[in-house]
Each structure stands twice: as structure tokens, then as C-alpha cells.
Subunit: 239 residues, 2 copies
């Protein structure tokens, strides 16, 4: 079923299949941060991120958000539509944290008066620089119409995920999305949603349950990822 390796990223491999319109994604335990200047391994991370993504994407589909996801195949593998990734990463922020805080001289954890959607050019060589819509269009990375669809989808993902995690005792601080174009030309949510791509803070204690434990050498990285899988797959209190 898995054919030739089409792409290897920092955390995943993408394989061709016997169907031209489908890929198999394999999630790795490799962890990188700060544009791969820091490297390591988080045991079980690939399985956790595969499982969390495989739990969330069908829920997003039910909420009307088209995604590339088809099915989970194994502990580390999932079957997805063979999309062409749009090289514009989308970060949605509910609270200040990370590069946003650093760039603007803000403390972390301040609730933003409105969600902030940021675009970054997906380029390891350049360190994923911040861009805006004009730059994305001028450089030919996406059209104005594409970006309007992407912004709308990103905000709808936020509308779904923020209360979803809230009901599970998690503050969704920010998250990164990637979008792809299907062979039929539709823009769909691609990539993953996991502790690698979101900031998750325990709503009661503020404890970080995401990749910042790896980035900032906080320890307990594996436990945090497992805890997030548990929260995502458990029924929320009161449900």
C-alpha cells in the first residue's frame, strides 16, 4: 500500500500510495524546535499525534470544515487526500505566548481582545518568516480568494477547538494550521493538530501540556503528550 517516500518533514513522512489521490502519512517521534536548531526524540510522540489528529479531524469534518483526513491506519499511520500543501502556515492566537509575546514585548498568557490570525511563509531555510496577505499574493503562494477561504476556515477551527478543549480543562492558547489543495482544487485543512502544533495549558494549574516542555527543557514531555491524548479521547466532565 505504502509507495515511494514523497516528502519527509521534521515530524512526519508522506508516502505515495497505489491511488494517485491519496497519501499515507507516518508520524515520527523526532522533535525539533527553533527551526531545527534543537533536536531530540519524544518517545511515543508519533503515536500520540497520530491518535489526537485522527480523533479531531472527523469532528472538524462534522463541524463543516473540510480536511485531508481519511482514516487512521495504524499506530503511526493515517491515510489522507493527496493535497498540495499551500506554503503559508496559519497561526491563530487566543492568548499571548511564544514568538508573539517576544516580538511585541508582551508577557505570556494575556487573553487577546480578539483572535489574531498570522501568516508565516513555510520555509525551513528562512525560519518560517512572518508575512502578510499582500506578500503571499505578490509572491504567488496563494490568491486573495485562497486566503479568504483559509482565514475563514482557520477561525472556524478555532470556534470548534477552543470550547472543545475548554470542556476538557485545557486552555487553547494558540495553534498552527496548514492547508492543502485537493486534486479537485478544494482548499482543505491538512497536516496535524497536536501538542506539536498547539499550545495547551491546563486550565486549572497553567501547566504546559505541549511542545514548549521540549522547547524550554521543562521535562515530562512524554507525560504531557500522553495526558493530552487522554484529555482528547476521554468524555468531558458533565458530558
Amino acid at each position: 500500500m505504502k509507495g515511494e517516500l514523497r516528502y519527509e518533514g521534521k515530524a512526519k513522512k508522506v508516502f505515495a500510495t497505489d491511488r494517485p489521490d491519496e497519501y499515507v502519512v507516518e508520524y515520527k517521534d523526532d522533535a525539533t524546535a527553533f527551526n531545527a536548531q534543537k533536536r531530540g526524540t519524544v518517545l511515543g510522540k508519533g503515536a500520540v499525534n497520530n491518535a489526537i489528529t485522527a480523533a479531531l479531524y472527523p469532528l472538524l469534518e462534522e463541524a463543516g470544515i473540510p480536511t485531508h483526513f481519511l482514516e487512521r491506519l495504524s499506530e503511526r499511520e493515517q491515510r489522507v487526500l493527496a493535497v498540495e500543501i499551500i506554503p503559508v502556515e496559519v497561526v491563530v492566537r487566543n492568548l499571548t505566548a511564544g514568538s508573539f509575546s517576544k516580538r511585541l514585548g508582551l508577557s505570556e498568557g494575556v487573553t487577546l481582545s480578539r483572535p489574531v490570525v498570522e501568516l508565516y511563509y513555510k520555509s525551513d531555510v528562512l525560519g518560517d518568516p512572518l508575512i502578510n496577505e499582500d506578500a503571499a499574493v505578490a509572491m504567488g503562494w496563494a490568491t486573495e480568494a485562497d486566503l479568504a477561504v483559509i482565514r475563514d476556515l482557520a477561525l472556524r477551527v478555532r470556534e470548534f477547538l477552543t470550547p472543545f478543549f475548554g470542556a476538557r480543562g485545557i486552555t487553547l492558547v494558540d495553534f498552527k494550521l496548514e492547508f492543502g489543495r485537493t486534486p479537485a482544487g478544494q482548499i482543505v485543512l491538512a497536516d496535524e493538530i497536536s501538542p506539536d502544533t498547539c499550545r495547551f495549558w491546563d486550565a486549572a494549574t497553567g501547566e504546559k501540556l505541549d511542545k514548549d516542555r521540549f522547547r524550554r527543557d521543562l521535562g515530562g514531555v512524554e507525560d504531557a503528550y500522553q495526558e493530552m491524548l487522554r484529555r482528547v479521547t476521554a468524555q468531558p466532565a458533565g458530558a
Copy 2:
């Protein structure tokens, strides 16, 4: 007439006047670059930038763009409306250059397929970081309505300036604008338009006639500024 010093920036001083709705701006010869890590003096720069701005702003007003400019008072001074500067700098790019080229790994001098308007948070401490409209609104620096007015004005300034300089043998590569709010609440173009705030390339030779001569130690800084004043105030060929 000139009252108390209200603000001193890297290249200008702003004084109160006996009228609460007016300021006097004094242009200095001080030159800084790379967020004031590089400092120097460009002899005559204050007078040139005052004269160029005093030549351009009335033309922009005639073209329907409201500005803070009232009149040139002396070689280095002009009288302006007492606006409150909006802390969002606006960069409009016709061609790739400078930080845009560096950030996106592009060579300089490539004509963009459409103008790129960028927003930067005006903060010396933070090095004027790139932001977007969501961030500006979330942080309370401007409203969505303000930003729509600012973008429209910035593009109209471009529509006027690009052919104006073209007729004088100058490629307008990019330029930075600042906007202010008048006591009556109107958003108007403020600050200056000069070789400090624009990239001007001789259309025939490509020679830089702007602050990049200072930033990049190219020599002939004073001559370049004087040449730009000559081009702005001379009648264009064929006019």
C-alpha cells in the same frame, strides 16, 4: 512661536506652539540606521528632508490625501497639525528590497506583481517589529476602520508618488508612511517623505539616492540627498 519640546525622535524634534492644534517640526541632520545601532550625521539632511516634504505634501493634498502639513517655516522647520501619531508604521513596496528581501530570501530590485503594504509596530525598544491588522486591532493600536482608511491612503500615496518620481527619472522602490489623528479625529498622513523614508533608485543607472547610502556605507550620502531635492523641485522632462 516654538514652545516646549514635545517629542524628540531620531531625525526630528516636535515643539508645541501657542496654538494647541499645531506643532512645529524641526528636521535634524542626525542619521541612524538598524534601530539606532548605527549613528551619524548627514550634513544638510534636515534641510533637504524638510524641503522635499514641504514640496510633496501640498501635492498630495491636491491629490485628495489629507496630511498634517501646513507650511514650511524655515530651512529646517515646518508647521503641522498637532496630530497624535498612530503607532503603526506603514511600508508600501513596489519592488523587493531591504528587510523584505532579507526576510524572504529574495534578491533586491524585483518588481512585485502587486504592491505590498506592510504594518510595523512603531517601537524603538522592539526594533519596529512586523505586525498585521489583527495584531494592531487586538493590541488597541488602531481599529479595523482606522486600518482600512490607512491602507487606502497609503495606496493612494503610492498612486501619486510612483509616477511623480518616475517622471523625474527615479524608481520608487518602497516607502514608509506614518499617520496621525487630528484633534478633530481625522486620520491624516503625518511624518515626512524623504530619502530617509523611501528607497529611490536612479531609473537609468540603478544608483541608490536614499538612506541606503548611509546604511550600507556607500559614500556620497550628502550628494544623493541633494540630488533628490533637485529632482523633486525641478520640472520633469517634457513637462
